[in-house]
Symmetry: D2
Subunit: 345 residues, 4 copies
């Protein structure tokens, strides 16, 4: 009789029912012998006891130290945090053929949807128009449209062409927008094969009407969208900043928005919470969101869905199919990011 394989499941800072729907939780328990599987952080002694026989570990960050040599059967570590765990010994994993998986793609749909909504809100002035009613200053008809414009047909640029960009590209398709992309981690050929035009950062900034900043933070891209770059943007360009404030000179961005040179829709801020006196709070053409694009409750169930699917694949002796595996070429190039933990707010 075949014995079930063993899976350590320690999702904390996430909660079990937050990420696993009842159906996925049932699948999980039928697929494997689940160890722990509770909301509280797994006590280290229990973790160490389970480690030697574990086939797969599902955790948030890697907070267990340099213990991998004790794992004799381990084939995969799946992080539910939101990025590849950087405190893990990647070299050991590569040498021992332990896959490291990230759930980053589970956020693609909700962030893409928010990006589109904020982009339309910026060009059609939905927040401005609504604010006007609350201030009794609304302007009707054409008088309320002196500076609005449409998305249809306007050039869109993606800075960072990963899973969010590719999901957003599907949402933009019916608007017939020429789509260009800049991503130094991808070849022109790949970008072209996905239906986007690969361009230089300079061409993107000077020609796109909608600039979607979706680049994951890396050790190379801190504040690479600096003042000189931002100043190249077109008048009334809409900057939709969704990845991390890490990649942009936020002061320069703020200046340009206050000067009404460009429009900003941002889900991320240079420090969170944002200081009370930050001038962007009162900029007419800013739309501000408090790191909410990737935290819709129902969206979290996509984590459980994809994790369970790939757990099934791995336990059946197949490669994972829905989540990306950490690649040796890139493993040293990700920047540590502060993973949002709702219970610390």
């Amino acid at each position: 009789m075949s014995e079930k394989q063993k899976v350590i499941l320690d999702p904390h800072f996430r909660r079990m029912d937050e990420i696993f729907s009842p159906r996925d939780r049932d699948r999980l328990y039928s697929l494997a012998d689940i160890v722990w599987g509770r909301d509280e952080p797994m006590p280290l002694d229990q973790f160490m006891e389970a480690l030697p026989d574990a086939d797969v570990i599902i955790c948030a960050e890697w907070r267990y130290g340099d213990v991998l040599p004790l794992a004799k059967k381990l084939r995969a570590i799946i992080s539910v945090a939101g990025a590849f765990p950087l405190t893990l010994d990647h070299a050991y994993c590569f040498a021992h053929h332990i896959r490291v998986l990230s759930i980053a793609p589970t956020f693609a749909r909700q962030v893409a949807e928010m990006s589109l909504g904020m982009a339309i809100a910026a060009c059609r002035e939905i927040t401005i128009g609504d604010r006007a009613f609350r201030n009794h200053t609304e302007q009707y008809l054409h008088a309320g449209n002196t500076s609005t414009f449409m998305m249809y047909g306007r050039p869109a640029g993606f800075i960072g062409y990963g899973s969010i960009a590719r999901e957003l590209q599907k949402l933009l398709a019916p608007f017939s927008m020429p789509v260009m992309a800049y991503d130094p981690w991808l070849t022109d050929g790949f970008i072209r094969s996905q239906g986007a035009r690969p361009v230089s950062l300079d061409e993107l900034l000077t020609t796109a009407q909608f600039v979607f900043v979706l680049a994951a933070p890396t050790v190379e891209n801190r504040a690479f969208l600096d003042r000189p770059h931002l100043e190249r943007l077109q008048q009334d360009a809409v900057v939709v900043l969704m990845s991390r404030a890490h990649v942009v000179d936020f002061d320069a961005l703020t200046d340009l928005v206050l000067a009404e040179r460009i429009r900003l829709a941002t889900d991320v801020l240079p420090t969170e919470p944002l200081p009370a006196d930050h001038p962007i709070r009162h900029a007419k053409h800013a739309i501000l969101s408090a790191h909410r694009a990737g935290s819709v409750r129902e969206g979290l169930h996509e984590i459980g869905d994809m994790v369970t699917d790939d757990l099934e694949a791995i336990l059946r002796g197949l490669p994972p199919q829905r989540l990306p595996t950490l690649q040796p070429e890139l493993s040293t190039r990700y920047a540590p990011i502060v993973v949002p933990k709702p219970d610390e707010e």
Copy 2:
């Protein structure tokens, strides 16, 4: 030598350069002998002088009286106002094979875009989230997402399935939403042929998460969305009201929004301007727009584009192809609507 056909062009309350791009204006003058073609209202005596020989009249509303019997060659009247001109003698036109055309479809794209933007803003709480920053009450991450939800996969319902709905359906396609439609002027077979599910008004109201109210005002549909109907809506249903306040009991709608039973995104208001003390102005889950969805400046050039295309068709002896012709079955069923005139604001 073939003489050019004669076209009376009296677009007032619209302006020539507002609706005709330079390219379309050139096309216009090369297609026909254009009479008037100025922003000011055409003097009636000049109109009467040109009428007998006119092949086509392009005007806004019909303000010329009962003069059609004097038109000996007239084949089409194209209104640039936004709806079929109701002060015109339709019976005479049908009897004498004079086509009456409306530019209503030129608004489809801009209204569809605004509808989508407002719908996302409502479920993802984009205006609420932005307002919070301005009030220093923003909530980060999951704390800011306690009542948000996504569009993906949620059922959408169209009340009124005309050109706006069909354009919006294209924009919704990537969200994999089941689409249903209610339109008493259409057969189930037609609705089904367009990829939507024909449903009763009751089924739509009780099952759609997003309810797009796009019905043109008719003599039959005044306030047909009354309190009992609105009360059938699901908790947190998003009502996107884009056609006319005419079709809804706005007081009932306001009550439901204030009670946080439903969410409202509306481009139209029971009276415009809205009274300063109307309670909807301060409803948390209302997104208000001052009749701005169909008045984007660049969108007006679509009027000139379609009008010129169909003028070309008519002058070449072909049926019009882009604008709808008034149909005898429906001509008495449209309700008069106050056409927005920017210069009267």
Copy 3:
């Protein structure tokens, strides 16, 4: 109590169960008081007896003579033959607001599917390759691909841009083919609005790799694709001839195919049956079909589906929505075509 409206239903040469599914037949009888509704031709005396009270007539060709003045309530004549009935008094119909409807669009899907299948068969040499096996001359792998090519990315041209072309355009969309169209009955603006590029006949013939001939026969287009035009085609252009041999110089076409200048896939022939000794029968690069593209049995139920839908619309006092109404501008320009009648073969 409201009495049912009266509909004369005389579909001969078509058969009732051939065009009406059981579901549509039930709908039909519940919508109206159906007179006749049998496969045999309706006796003229019964027709004349029913005519004065008939609201709608559904027939194949118009074989009843000049009797319309006796119809006192008639609002529509729906022909199930395949084109507008040309023996009918169109002027009388226009003057008396009797709509004349054609079921031509019901053929769009099946003809589009066949067009695509024959086009792929031509460029990938599916019939040639299969024939080779039967002759024991098949060539494997690259040796069997010395003159094949793919559809992906190649320019496609539509000659005639009606319902078949627009359906075919949907099928071609995943092949990323630039699409151009030539249709003298349409404006450039309309063609462009449908996502195709309007071009001159000359540009189409010299630049398209796949030329789909879909033009309905008119009094103007007999053999307009004459030898000089056809000689302008590119080497190995694939001509897919689907509308009528009427529009092309078939001898010139045959010569070019025999000379291996172009490839032909045709569903229509200059005379049907084709003479036994016609040289096209043995041309290597011809794919021949015996007027079968629009005669798939299951496709005929689309006739019943659309006819019943529009009958419902008309009886409810609405304009028809799925079938086109004869337009006064074009009514004298259609050429008589021999409607295929299966029971005469």
Copy 4:
């Protein structure tokens, strides 16, 4: 000054200009120091000399023996043959982080196109109809359509859901066919995420009207479509056999086609060339192609395109993006296949 990296390029049995367009050849030489790069097989002594310093090897099959330990810098082996090279020491590659890449996806578009063309030809009887003209037995109109049917709306099943299936799925999308897939190497969750319905083999065989057999040959699937399985197919099911005859009991298939129980469109044969007296050669409802679906000349340039793109990625220190990397879970499960070599015919 940075020195160029070294790439061994030994494409034989393929030819340089067959797979590399002039543009890609230029890219290749600008990216790296190319060693060999000729049509003839690289002499082994030259290979051994270049091996120690080679960063990447591009070859067809692995005919160099057990020499990998001599490669000191090797990061990738890219096979242009058509499948992962099975004579290579996979374990060594995994242990030393040498990626092994296959060009299999470059065939997806041309095979998908051929699959669609043959499927339409089968249900619409395009080869049968054309053959009839050559035999003077053609039947016109409905008489020629007694056993045809349409693709629109019919259920399609993929056996094997890899790159060809996913490309074909795009081509089938406009036909509104419910799509199901059976693939034991994939999870239900992944299949569902791609818009197909995961089903058991049994459900697929009994419910699909079009069965696309696209499974790569593995050590597990030899003749798994045996007689009992094939007998479960629906009357007139269309089997489109594109991967390898390996996976099917071809005798049983032949019997069913000759008995007119099912229809067959096949690009592969149990032995190639097919024996002259094989009865499938004269089956009415068979469409035969001599392993030509993946050998269109222009399609071979997609090999060069993707190889050059991924060479660029690897040399820039990035993971490959267009071609799949051999995965340890599957590396022992592929069956050896005879790679078609055109120059051996």
